[in-house]
């Protein structure tokens, strides 16, 4: 049932303005080429959920005006500093920020994966995160002898999970290796779009060695090839983060004008990436 898109731009065509878009954390296979395609198309008002954190991807989408609501437990460029467009957007109140904590986003997506309306989670009580999230309810644990409050988190059901992975096969199976968050995201989401480094001819599920690391094609609606598709972020076991580029981004994105120059040079002109 998986469609193979002719281009990354085609693959992201179904991600409409206002959708709940879920993406993986900065080290798991971030679809940066697809993110640039979304920005080129001028996507708006996304409800972006990062499982559970984000770096360049969220910063770029926010800076380009594509995000209405951001739900995550942190955005940072890590060793390259704070995420300047994220920080500015929160200070300007130009996005709705839904602060979370990492395991809460995992649990809320697992609830969607299981088709249950909520999941319980330990912690959170006494945190101001809980105070800012009226939808997170506290109930009395019915299995405790004494009063034992516990937080319930409603399921997060993404419209689309957008992922990048090393390999796909002709049946739409995607090899994600150890990056199992990609499986949770896809199970939880109504549809899944994946960019991959390359497509192989043999069936990934038929190989006992590769099958354990496969997201089955059954969940995958659309695939496009995007070589080096995480650039300038890394893809585990395949390529590292482009540190020089990240430094350039951090420097340019520190100002509005610099960010616009970055967009013009690296995002708005397709395939104009540094080699």
């Amino acid at each position: 049932m998986t469609q193979f898109a002719a281009s990354v731009d085609d693959a992201v065509a179904d991600i409409a303005d206002g959708m709940l878009l879920a993406v993986p954390r900065e080290v798991s296979g971030v679809p940066m080429e697809a993110t640039r395609a979304l920005i080129r198309r001028g996507v708006r008002r996304l409800h972006l959920v990062a499982l559970p954190t984000s770096s360049l991807q969220a910063d770029l989408l926010i800076g380009a005006g594509g995000v209405g609501t951001l739900e995550t437990s942190a955005v940072s460029l890590g060793e390259f500093g704070a995420a300047p467009r994220f920080t500015q957007a929160v200070l300007n109140r130009s996005i709705v920020m839904k602060d979370a904590t990492c395991p809460a986003i995992h649990a809320a997506l697992q609830a969607a994966e299981k088709g249950v309306p909520f999941m319980p989670m330990r912690g959170l009580i006494g945190s101001d995160i809980l105070a800012t999230r009226p939808e997170w309810q506290v109930i009395a644990n019915p299995y405790a002898d004494n009063h034992d409050p516990i937080v319930l988190l409603p399921a997060i059901v993404p419209d689309v999970a957008l992922l990048h992975a090393p390999l796909a096969d002709r049946d739409g199976n995607v090899w994600i290796g150890r990056q199992r968050d990609l499986i949770t995201l896809s199970h939880a989401a109504r549809s899944t779009i994946v960019t991959v480094e390359r497509v192989v001819d043999d069936n990934l599920l038929a190989d006992p060695l590769r099958a354990p690391g496969v997201l089955p094609g059954f969940y995958v609606d659309s695939i496009a090839v995007a070589e080096n598709g995480c650039w300038p972020l890394g893809l585990p076991d395949h390529y590292d983060t482009d540190a020089a580029h990240m430094k350039e981004y951090a420097r340019l994105a520190a100002s509005h004008d610099g960010f616009e120059a970055y967009l013009a040079r690296y995002v708005l002109t397709p395939r104009a990436k540094a080699s």
Binding site: P52, C102, R178
Partner: protein
Amino acid sequence: MTAPNMIRDEELLASTIADLIGDVRHVAVGNASPIPATAALLARERGRQRGVARPYVSLLQSRKHNFFTDGGRELFDCAGQGRIDVFFLSGGQIDGQGNINLVAIGDYDAPKVRFPGSYGSAHLYYVVPKMILFRTEHSRRTLVEKVDFISAPGVSADGVHRTGGPIALITNRCFFRFDPARKRFRLESVHPGHTVEEVREHTGFDFDQPDTVAVTTPPSPETLALMRNTVAPQVAEVYPQFAAEIFNITAHPA
């Protein structure tokens, strides 16, 4: 080349943290934490010297020193299972009740300063028995009377499930222990070259102190040798720049 008899601040901090870690099963260290990572690896080498295969050390930044195969949730599930004994957190602000703020300064809805976010703190701080707070900038800006936003609270009300929490705060000036019963820090020792008065001056919260405050015990010659000869090359694999600067050592292929 560092003079062999000169103890670097980083070595003192790592040694102090390694003592705090003690003999446990599993220490996990988050990203961008070279000093806690050094301390955890030092604790592991001490275990090896005693002939025990613990603590197990997970360096979340490293693919090699990180066993997880069940996605990002495994760290948190593992902590929820009680399988993580020690973890490290910092804070844009830390207050006298052990509350940490990783979110914002000012009003949450109209902040003056925004930090990256709370990460896993609002879970890990509750369920890891030995949470060690680590902040090298010890100032009234960072150590405040009351945080503007509680990412995770230092103590919880009676009845709230809490199997973990802060045990200490290590800064560039001193070592506080946290007393959950009194909901306060207690000054355990000041680092060599620092004074109690200086700590009071640069700390925004009130804290307990004994009549005589000790000087933080510097690493013994054995600990220094272990850190420099055995631990440093391991640190260099994950934090090459830090290892080069502190231990004058470059990473070699693993």
